[in-house]
Symmetry: C2
Subunit: 248 residues, 2 copies
Protein backbone atom coordinates (compact mmCIF):
# COMPACT_ATOMS: atom_id res chain seq x y z
CA UNK A 1 0.00 0.00 0.00
CA UNK A 2 1.30 3.42 -0.94
CA UNK A 3 2.10 5.72 1.94
CA UNK A 4 -0.09 8.79 2.24
CA UNK A 5 2.64 11.21 1.29
CA UNK A 6 3.21 9.46 -2.01
CA UNK A 7 -0.18 9.19 -3.64
CA UNK A 8 1.28 9.66 -7.09
CA UNK A 9 1.07 12.65 -9.33
CA UNK A 10 -2.44 12.21 -10.71
CA UNK A 11 -3.94 11.67 -7.31
CA UNK A 12 -2.07 14.62 -5.91
CA UNK A 13 -3.40 16.95 -8.56
CA UNK A 14 -6.94 15.65 -8.24
CA UNK A 15 -6.91 16.37 -4.53
CA UNK A 16 -5.25 19.75 -4.86
CA UNK A 17 -7.48 22.57 -3.71
CA UNK A 18 -6.12 25.90 -4.91
CA UNK A 19 -8.55 27.83 -2.76
CA UNK A 20 -6.74 26.97 0.44
CA UNK A 21 -3.97 29.42 -0.36
CA UNK A 22 -4.49 33.14 -0.41
CA UNK A 23 -3.33 34.31 -3.76
CA UNK A 24 -2.63 37.59 -5.53
CA UNK A 25 -5.09 38.82 -8.13
CA UNK A 26 -3.71 38.86 -11.66
CA UNK A 27 -4.54 41.25 -14.46
CA UNK A 28 -3.14 42.44 -17.76
CA UNK A 29 -2.76 46.05 -18.89
CA UNK A 30 -1.75 47.21 -22.32
CA UNK A 31 -0.19 50.49 -23.32
CA UNK A 32 -1.67 51.02 -26.77
CA UNK A 33 0.47 53.39 -28.77
CA UNK A 34 -0.14 55.18 -32.00
CA UNK A 35 1.31 58.25 -33.68
CA UNK A 36 -0.70 61.01 -35.30
CA UNK A 37 -0.64 64.81 -35.43
CA UNK A 38 3.14 64.53 -35.05
CA UNK A 39 2.72 63.16 -31.52
CA UNK A 40 2.72 59.89 -29.67
CA UNK A 41 -0.71 58.94 -28.30
CA UNK A 42 -1.83 56.32 -25.79
CA UNK A 43 -5.30 54.83 -25.53
CA UNK A 44 -6.99 55.42 -22.17
CA UNK A 45 -10.36 54.40 -20.78
CA UNK A 46 -12.30 56.11 -18.05
CA UNK A 47 -13.14 53.58 -15.37
CA UNK A 48 -16.81 52.79 -14.79
CA UNK A 49 -16.35 51.35 -11.32
CA UNK A 50 -14.41 51.51 -8.09
CA UNK A 51 -11.61 51.62 -7.30
CA UNK A 52 -10.48 54.79 -9.06
CA UNK A 53 -13.98 55.20 -10.52
CA UNK A 54 -14.08 57.87 -13.25
CA UNK A 55 -10.33 58.06 -13.50
CA UNK A 56 -8.47 57.37 -16.72
CA UNK A 57 -6.49 54.16 -16.92
CA UNK A 58 -4.66 51.89 -19.33
CA UNK A 59 -6.66 49.31 -21.25
CA UNK A 60 -6.72 46.16 -19.19
CA UNK A 61 -8.63 43.69 -17.14
CA UNK A 62 -8.56 40.49 -15.22
CA UNK A 63 -7.46 37.22 -16.64
CA UNK A 64 -10.53 35.14 -17.35
CA UNK A 65 -9.27 31.65 -16.68
CA UNK A 66 -12.08 30.14 -18.72
CA UNK A 67 -11.82 32.35 -21.80
CA UNK A 68 -8.10 33.14 -21.91
CA UNK A 69 -5.66 30.35 -22.71
CA UNK A 70 -2.62 32.47 -21.88
CA UNK A 71 -1.58 35.95 -20.80
CA UNK A 72 -1.35 37.33 -24.30
CA UNK A 73 -4.92 36.20 -24.96
CA UNK A 74 -6.10 38.45 -22.17
CA UNK A 75 -4.22 41.38 -23.64
CA UNK A 76 -5.60 40.68 -27.12
CA UNK A 77 -9.14 40.23 -25.86
CA UNK A 78 -9.20 43.58 -24.08
CA UNK A 79 -7.43 45.29 -26.96
CA UNK A 80 -9.95 43.92 -29.45
CA UNK A 81 -12.87 45.03 -27.27
CA UNK A 82 -11.63 48.59 -27.33
CA UNK A 83 -10.14 48.99 -30.80
CA UNK A 84 -11.55 46.23 -33.01
CA UNK A 85 -7.98 45.26 -33.88
CA UNK A 86 -6.99 41.62 -33.78
CA UNK A 87 -3.33 41.38 -34.58
CA UNK A 88 -1.39 44.44 -33.57
CA UNK A 89 2.28 44.37 -32.73
CA UNK A 90 2.18 43.27 -29.08
CA UNK A 91 5.18 42.98 -26.80
CA UNK A 92 5.35 42.12 -23.14
CA UNK A 93 6.92 44.96 -21.21
CA UNK A 94 7.02 44.13 -17.52
CA UNK A 95 5.07 42.74 -14.60
CA UNK A 96 4.32 44.77 -11.51
CA UNK A 97 3.11 43.05 -8.38
CA UNK A 98 2.77 44.35 -4.88
CA UNK A 99 0.63 44.40 -1.79
CA UNK A 100 -0.23 48.07 -2.23
CA UNK A 101 -0.79 48.81 -5.89
CA UNK A 102 -4.48 47.91 -5.68
CA UNK A 103 -6.41 48.90 -2.55
CA UNK A 104 -8.40 45.66 -2.69
CA UNK A 105 -5.72 42.99 -2.62
CA UNK A 106 -2.18 41.87 -3.40
CA UNK A 107 -2.21 42.57 -7.11
CA UNK A 108 -0.14 41.62 -10.12
CA UNK A 109 -0.39 43.16 -13.54
CA UNK A 110 1.49 42.13 -16.61
CA UNK A 111 1.97 45.11 -18.87
CA UNK A 112 2.10 44.76 -22.64
CA UNK A 113 2.52 47.47 -25.18
CA UNK A 114 0.88 47.51 -28.59
CA UNK A 115 1.90 49.48 -31.66
CA UNK A 116 -0.68 50.23 -34.31
CA UNK A 117 -1.64 52.65 -37.00
CA UNK A 118 -4.60 54.71 -35.88
CA UNK A 119 -6.35 54.36 -39.23
CA UNK A 120 -7.24 50.77 -38.36
CA UNK A 121 -8.88 51.63 -35.06
CA UNK A 122 -12.56 52.04 -34.31
CA UNK A 123 -12.86 52.95 -30.65
CA UNK A 124 -15.51 51.25 -28.51
CA UNK A 125 -16.18 52.09 -24.91
CA UNK A 126 -17.14 48.60 -23.69
CA UNK A 127 -18.85 47.87 -20.42
CA UNK A 128 -16.05 48.49 -17.92
CA UNK A 129 -15.56 52.04 -19.09
CA UNK A 130 -17.59 55.21 -19.46
CA UNK A 131 -15.27 56.90 -21.95
CA UNK A 132 -12.26 56.24 -24.13
CA UNK A 133 -9.70 58.55 -25.74
CA UNK A 134 -6.28 58.93 -27.24
CA UNK A 135 -4.07 60.90 -24.88
CA UNK A 136 -1.28 62.91 -26.44
CA UNK A 137 2.12 62.36 -24.86
CA UNK A 138 4.46 65.28 -25.17
CA UNK A 139 8.14 65.31 -24.35
CA UNK A 140 7.86 62.03 -22.58
CA UNK A 141 5.66 63.54 -19.88
CA UNK A 142 2.26 62.14 -19.03
CA UNK A 143 -0.20 65.03 -18.66
CA UNK A 144 -2.80 63.22 -16.59
CA UNK A 145 -2.92 61.34 -13.30
CA UNK A 146 -4.11 57.82 -14.03
CA UNK A 147 -5.72 55.14 -11.90
CA UNK A 148 -3.61 52.71 -9.85
CA UNK A 149 0.10 53.00 -10.67
CA UNK A 150 -0.65 53.51 -14.33
CA UNK A 151 1.01 56.92 -14.54
CA UNK A 152 4.27 55.41 -13.43
CA UNK A 153 3.87 52.38 -15.69
CA UNK A 154 3.10 54.55 -18.67
CA UNK A 155 6.11 56.77 -18.07
CA UNK A 156 8.55 53.92 -17.84
CA UNK A 157 6.96 52.16 -20.80
CA UNK A 158 7.39 55.29 -22.91
CA UNK A 159 11.02 55.32 -21.86
CA UNK A 160 11.39 51.76 -23.01
CA UNK A 161 9.71 52.44 -26.34
CA UNK A 162 11.80 55.52 -26.93
CA UNK A 163 14.93 53.56 -26.11
CA UNK A 164 14.08 50.68 -28.42
CA UNK A 165 13.52 53.11 -31.25
CA UNK A 166 17.23 53.94 -31.07
CA UNK A 167 18.23 50.46 -32.21
CA UNK A 168 15.21 48.68 -33.70
CA UNK A 169 12.75 48.92 -36.57
CA UNK A 170 9.76 48.92 -34.19
CA UNK A 171 8.25 52.12 -35.62
CA UNK A 172 7.37 50.13 -38.76
CA UNK A 173 4.30 49.06 -36.77
CA UNK A 174 3.19 52.64 -36.24
CA UNK A 175 2.82 53.49 -39.92
CA UNK A 176 0.30 52.19 -42.43
CA UNK A 177 0.77 49.11 -44.56
CA UNK A 178 2.41 51.30 -47.18
CA UNK A 179 4.36 54.41 -46.25
CA UNK A 180 7.01 56.77 -47.50
CA UNK A 181 10.44 57.02 -45.93
CA UNK A 182 9.62 60.58 -44.89
CA UNK A 183 6.55 59.34 -43.02
CA UNK A 184 8.59 56.67 -41.29
CA UNK A 185 11.27 59.19 -40.42
CA UNK A 186 8.60 61.48 -38.96
CA UNK A 187 7.49 58.67 -36.64
CA UNK A 188 11.06 58.11 -35.51
CA UNK A 189 11.43 61.83 -34.93
CA UNK A 190 8.24 62.06 -32.90
CA UNK A 191 9.31 59.16 -30.71
CA UNK A 192 12.80 60.50 -30.19
CA UNK A 193 11.65 64.12 -29.99
CA UNK A 194 14.49 65.06 -32.25
CA UNK A 195 15.10 65.68 -35.94
CA UNK A 196 17.09 63.12 -37.86
CA UNK A 197 19.27 63.46 -40.90
CA UNK A 198 17.38 62.17 -43.94
CA UNK A 199 20.39 60.65 -45.64
CA UNK A 200 21.53 58.69 -42.57
CA UNK A 201 18.01 57.60 -41.83
CA UNK A 202 17.35 56.27 -45.32
CA UNK A 203 20.71 54.54 -45.50
CA UNK A 204 19.99 52.82 -42.20
CA UNK A 205 16.48 51.67 -43.09
CA UNK A 206 17.20 50.60 -46.65
CA UNK A 207 20.25 48.56 -45.72
CA UNK A 208 18.40 46.74 -42.94
CA UNK A 209 16.38 44.71 -45.43
CA UNK A 210 13.09 45.17 -43.59
CA UNK A 211 11.29 47.32 -46.15
CA UNK A 212 10.82 47.09 -49.90
CA UNK A 213 9.46 49.32 -52.63
CA UNK A 214 5.84 48.77 -53.63
CA UNK A 215 6.46 50.30 -57.05
CA UNK A 216 3.82 52.90 -56.28
CA UNK A 217 4.21 56.54 -55.43
CA UNK A 218 2.51 58.77 -52.93
CA UNK A 219 1.28 61.92 -54.64
CA UNK A 220 -0.14 65.02 -53.08
CA UNK A 221 2.88 66.88 -51.83
CA UNK A 222 5.31 68.43 -54.30
CA UNK A 223 7.66 65.74 -55.50
CA UNK A 224 5.95 62.33 -55.27
CA UNK A 225 7.54 59.92 -52.84
CA UNK A 226 8.18 56.21 -53.22
CA UNK A 227 5.83 54.03 -51.22
CA UNK A 228 7.40 51.18 -49.26
CA UNK A 229 5.98 48.23 -47.37
CA UNK A 230 7.36 45.98 -44.67
CA UNK A 231 9.01 42.87 -46.08
CA UNK A 232 6.66 39.98 -45.33
CA UNK A 233 7.89 37.61 -42.67
CA UNK A 234 10.65 39.79 -41.29
CA UNK A 235 10.90 40.30 -37.59
CA UNK A 236 11.90 43.45 -35.81
CA UNK A 237 15.37 44.40 -36.97
CA UNK A 238 18.01 45.10 -34.36
CA UNK A 239 20.63 47.50 -35.62
CA UNK A 240 24.22 46.98 -34.57
CA UNK A 241 24.58 50.66 -33.73
CA UNK A 242 22.23 53.08 -32.01
CA UNK A 243 20.91 56.27 -33.46
CA UNK A 244 23.24 58.69 -31.74
CA UNK A 245 20.59 60.88 -30.24
CA UNK A 246 22.14 64.20 -29.31
CA UNK A 247 20.34 64.56 -26.01
CA UNK A 248 21.68 61.37 -24.48
Amino acid sequence: MKPLQDLGEKEFIKNYDPAIYERPNASVDTVIYTVFDRALHVLLVRRAEYPFKNMWSLVGGFIDIHRDSDLESTAKRKLYEKTGINTPYLEQYETIGSKTRDPRYWSITTVYFALLHHSKVSLRIGDDAVDIKWMRITNNSVPEVLAFDHTEILKSCCGRLRNKVLYTSLPLHLVGTTFTLVELQNVYEVLLDETLDAKSFRRRMLSAGVIEETGKMKLGSRRPAKLYRRVAGTNTHFFMRNIEASSY
Copy 2:
Protein backbone atom coordinates in the same frame (compact mmCIF):
# COMPACT_ATOMS: atom_id res chain seq x y z
CA MET B 1 -29.48 58.31 0.86
CA LYS B 2 -26.86 57.00 -1.51
CA PRO B 3 -28.09 54.58 -4.13
CA LEU B 4 -26.80 51.04 -3.84
CA GLN B 5 -24.63 51.21 -6.91
CA ASP B 6 -22.68 54.15 -5.57
CA LEU B 7 -21.61 53.22 -2.08
CA GLY B 8 -18.35 55.12 -2.47
CA GLU B 9 -14.87 53.78 -2.82
CA LYS B 10 -14.16 52.82 0.79
CA GLU B 11 -17.39 50.94 1.15
CA PHE B 12 -16.86 49.21 -2.18
CA ILE B 13 -13.45 47.94 -1.19
CA LYS B 14 -14.65 46.82 2.23
CA ASN B 15 -17.38 44.73 0.65
CA TYR B 16 -15.14 43.34 -2.08
CA ASP B 17 -14.71 39.60 -1.82
CA PRO B 18 -11.83 38.45 -4.01
CA ALA B 19 -12.73 34.79 -3.52
CA ILE B 20 -15.78 35.06 -5.77
CA TYR B 21 -13.57 35.14 -8.85
CA GLU B 22 -11.53 32.18 -9.97
CA ARG B 23 -8.01 33.41 -10.28
CA PRO B 24 -4.72 32.16 -11.68
CA ASN B 25 -2.03 31.06 -9.29
CA ALA B 26 1.05 33.28 -9.29
CA SER B 27 4.63 32.31 -8.66
CA VAL B 28 8.12 33.62 -9.24
CA ASP B 29 11.05 31.71 -10.71
CA THR B 30 14.60 32.89 -10.90
CA VAL B 31 17.32 31.81 -13.29
CA ILE B 32 20.41 32.10 -11.12
CA TYR B 33 23.51 32.41 -13.27
CA THR B 34 27.15 32.16 -12.42
CA VAL B 35 30.30 31.47 -14.40
CA PHE B 36 33.05 29.09 -13.35
CA ASP B 37 35.22 26.43 -14.99
CA ARG B 38 34.97 28.51 -18.15
CA ALA B 39 31.24 27.77 -18.43
CA LEU B 40 27.91 29.33 -17.63
CA HIS B 41 26.06 27.57 -14.81
CA VAL B 42 22.47 27.76 -13.60
CA LEU B 43 21.24 26.84 -10.14
CA LEU B 44 18.64 24.06 -10.10
CA VAL B 45 16.72 22.37 -7.31
CA ARG B 46 15.24 18.91 -7.33
CA ARG B 47 11.58 19.13 -6.43
CA ALA B 48 10.45 17.45 -3.21
CA GLU B 49 6.79 17.25 -4.16
CA TYR B 50 4.30 16.81 -6.96
CA PRO B 51 3.86 17.91 -9.60
CA PHE B 52 7.12 16.97 -11.31
CA LYS B 53 8.35 15.42 -8.08
CA ASN B 54 12.08 14.60 -8.20
CA MET B 55 12.62 16.62 -11.35
CA TRP B 56 15.04 19.50 -11.53
CA SER B 57 13.58 22.98 -11.75
CA LEU B 58 14.49 26.64 -11.48
CA VAL B 59 14.58 28.26 -8.05
CA GLY B 60 11.14 29.61 -7.34
CA GLY B 61 7.97 29.47 -5.38
CA PHE B 62 4.61 30.99 -4.71
CA ILE B 63 4.10 34.57 -3.75
CA ASP B 64 3.37 34.70 -0.04
CA ILE B 65 1.00 37.63 0.20
CA HIS B 66 1.72 38.07 3.89
CA ARG B 67 5.51 37.92 3.75
CA ASP B 68 6.25 39.42 0.33
CA SER B 69 5.57 43.11 -0.25
CA ASP B 70 6.19 42.87 -3.99
CA LEU B 71 7.23 40.46 -6.73
CA GLU B 72 10.94 41.08 -6.34
CA SER B 73 10.66 40.25 -2.64
CA THR B 74 9.46 36.79 -3.55
CA ALA B 75 12.41 36.33 -5.90
CA LYS B 76 14.86 37.56 -3.28
CA ARG B 77 13.37 35.44 -0.53
CA LYS B 78 13.68 32.23 -2.52
CA LEU B 79 17.12 33.19 -3.76
CA TYR B 80 18.31 33.88 -0.25
CA GLU B 81 16.91 30.58 1.00
CA LYS B 82 18.97 28.69 -1.55
CA THR B 83 22.18 30.71 -1.79
CA GLY B 84 22.47 32.87 1.32
CA ILE B 85 22.86 35.88 -0.95
CA ASN B 86 20.87 39.01 -0.24
CA THR B 87 21.63 41.51 -2.95
CA PRO B 88 22.54 39.93 -6.24
CA TYR B 89 21.99 41.60 -9.57
CA LEU B 90 18.37 40.78 -10.25
CA GLU B 91 16.47 41.64 -13.40
CA GLN B 92 12.95 40.77 -14.41
CA TYR B 93 12.98 38.74 -17.59
CA GLU B 94 9.42 37.81 -18.56
CA THR B 95 6.11 36.50 -17.30
CA ILE B 96 4.59 33.30 -18.58
CA GLY B 97 0.98 32.56 -17.89
CA SER B 98 -1.28 29.91 -19.34
CA LYS B 99 -3.96 27.41 -18.60
CA THR B 100 -1.66 24.49 -19.30
CA ARG B 101 1.80 25.20 -17.92
CA ASP B 102 0.90 23.77 -14.52
CA PRO B 103 -1.30 20.66 -14.39
CA ARG B 104 -3.06 21.97 -11.29
CA TYR B 105 -4.41 25.33 -12.41
CA TRP B 106 -4.14 28.40 -14.61
CA SER B 107 -0.66 29.46 -13.65
CA ILE B 108 1.45 32.56 -13.97
CA THR B 109 5.14 32.79 -13.26
CA THR B 110 7.26 35.88 -13.37
CA VAL B 111 10.80 34.95 -14.29
CA TYR B 112 13.78 36.88 -12.98
CA PHE B 113 17.41 36.25 -13.64
CA ALA B 114 20.18 36.79 -11.14
CA LEU B 115 23.88 37.24 -11.81
CA LEU B 116 26.36 36.45 -9.07
CA HIS B 117 29.87 35.34 -8.39
CA HIS B 118 29.88 31.76 -7.18
CA SER B 119 32.39 32.48 -4.43
CA LYS B 120 29.66 34.22 -2.43
CA VAL B 121 27.27 31.30 -2.55
CA SER B 122 26.64 28.68 0.11
CA LEU B 123 24.06 26.29 -1.26
CA ARG B 124 21.18 25.19 0.96
CA ILE B 125 18.59 22.64 -0.05
CA GLY B 126 15.63 24.13 1.83
CA ASP B 127 12.37 22.31 2.50
CA ASP B 128 10.78 22.31 -0.95
CA ALA B 129 13.72 20.51 -2.52
CA VAL B 130 15.63 17.29 -2.06
CA ASP B 131 18.76 18.40 -3.87
CA ILE B 132 20.42 21.45 -5.38
CA LYS B 133 23.16 21.86 -7.98
CA TRP B 134 24.84 24.09 -10.50
CA MET B 135 24.04 22.84 -13.99
CA ARG B 136 26.63 23.57 -16.66
CA ILE B 137 25.20 25.14 -19.80
CA THR B 138 27.19 24.45 -22.91
CA ASN B 139 26.74 26.09 -26.29
CA ASN B 140 23.44 27.53 -25.24
CA SER B 141 21.88 24.10 -24.95
CA VAL B 142 20.21 22.89 -21.78
CA PRO B 143 21.31 19.31 -21.10
CA GLU B 144 18.45 18.30 -18.86
CA VAL B 145 14.66 18.19 -19.05
CA LEU B 146 13.30 20.38 -16.29
CA ALA B 147 9.95 20.54 -14.50
CA PHE B 148 7.04 22.55 -15.93
CA ASP B 149 8.10 24.71 -18.88
CA HIS B 150 11.41 25.51 -17.23
CA THR B 151 13.52 24.03 -20.02
CA GLU B 152 11.97 26.43 -22.48
CA ILE B 153 12.19 29.36 -20.09
CA LEU B 154 15.83 28.65 -19.36
CA LYS B 155 16.71 28.42 -23.04
CA SER B 156 15.11 31.71 -23.94
CA CYS B 157 16.53 33.39 -20.85
CA CYS B 158 20.02 32.26 -21.85
CA GLY B 159 19.39 33.77 -25.26
CA ARG B 160 18.44 37.04 -23.66
CA LEU B 161 21.48 37.06 -21.41
CA ARG B 162 23.77 36.24 -24.29
CA ASN B 163 22.22 38.99 -26.35
CA LYS B 164 22.52 41.61 -23.62
CA VAL B 165 26.18 40.76 -23.24
CA LEU B 166 26.71 42.11 -26.76
CA TYR B 167 25.83 45.64 -25.71
CA THR B 168 25.93 45.93 -21.91
CA SER B 169 28.31 45.65 -18.99
CA LEU B 170 26.12 43.01 -17.30
CA PRO B 171 28.98 40.49 -16.92
CA LEU B 172 30.48 42.79 -14.27
CA HIS B 173 28.05 41.05 -11.91
CA LEU B 174 29.49 37.64 -12.70
CA VAL B 175 33.02 38.40 -11.51
CA GLY B 176 34.27 39.04 -7.97
CA THR B 177 34.40 42.44 -6.33
CA THR B 178 37.89 42.86 -7.77
CA PHE B 179 38.91 41.29 -11.04
CA THR B 180 41.39 41.58 -13.86
CA LEU B 181 40.39 42.58 -17.36
CA VAL B 182 41.42 39.14 -18.56
CA GLU B 183 39.01 37.55 -16.08
CA LEU B 184 36.22 39.84 -17.24
CA GLN B 185 37.03 39.11 -20.86
CA ASN B 186 36.89 35.39 -20.11
CA VAL B 187 33.37 35.78 -18.76
CA TYR B 188 32.32 37.65 -21.88
CA GLU B 189 33.89 34.92 -23.99
CA VAL B 190 32.11 32.16 -22.10
CA LEU B 191 28.77 33.88 -22.50
CA LEU B 192 29.28 34.59 -26.18
CA ASP B 193 31.01 31.28 -26.84
CA GLU B 194 33.58 33.12 -28.85
CA THR B 195 37.05 34.57 -28.36
CA LEU B 196 37.37 38.32 -28.27
CA ASP B 197 40.23 40.58 -29.21
CA ALA B 198 41.96 41.78 -26.06
CA LYS B 199 42.72 45.27 -27.34
CA SER B 200 39.17 45.97 -28.48
CA PHE B 201 37.72 44.52 -25.32
CA ARG B 202 39.89 46.64 -23.01
CA ARG B 203 39.30 49.79 -25.01
CA ARG B 204 35.54 49.20 -24.79
CA MET B 205 35.48 48.50 -21.05
CA LEU B 206 37.91 51.20 -20.00
CA SER B 207 36.21 53.94 -21.98
CA ALA B 208 32.77 53.05 -20.59
CA GLY B 209 33.62 54.47 -17.20
CA VAL B 210 32.15 51.57 -15.27
CA ILE B 211 35.37 50.13 -13.83
CA GLU B 212 38.34 51.66 -12.07
CA GLU B 213 41.77 50.48 -10.96
CA THR B 214 42.09 49.34 -7.37
CA GLY B 215 45.82 50.03 -7.40
CA LYS B 216 46.45 46.40 -6.55
CA MET B 217 47.74 43.62 -8.75
CA LYS B 218 46.76 40.03 -9.15
CA LEU B 219 49.86 37.83 -8.92
CA GLY B 220 50.16 34.15 -9.63
CA SER B 221 50.34 33.95 -13.37
CA ARG B 222 53.39 35.27 -15.26
CA ARG B 223 53.03 38.98 -15.63
CA PRO B 224 50.86 40.36 -12.79
CA ALA B 225 47.59 41.91 -13.87
CA LYS B 226 45.94 45.08 -12.67
CA LEU B 227 42.93 44.52 -10.43
CA TYR B 228 39.83 46.57 -11.16
CA ARG B 229 36.57 47.11 -9.35
CA ARG B 230 33.16 48.32 -10.45
CA VAL B 231 32.76 52.06 -10.02
CA ALA B 232 30.42 52.53 -7.07
CA GLY B 233 26.95 53.75 -7.95
CA THR B 234 27.16 53.11 -11.68
CA ASN B 235 24.37 51.29 -13.39
CA THR B 236 24.65 48.80 -16.18
CA HIS B 237 26.34 50.49 -19.10
CA PHE B 238 24.67 50.30 -22.50
CA PHE B 239 27.22 50.56 -25.29
CA MET B 240 26.27 52.44 -28.44
CA ARG B 241 27.61 49.64 -30.60
CA ASN B 242 27.36 45.87 -30.25
CA ILE B 243 30.21 43.47 -30.00
CA GLU B 244 30.26 42.26 -33.57
CA ALA B 245 30.05 38.59 -32.81
CA SER B 246 31.18 36.64 -35.82
CA SER B 247 28.48 34.00 -35.64
CA TYR B 248 25.58 36.40 -35.87
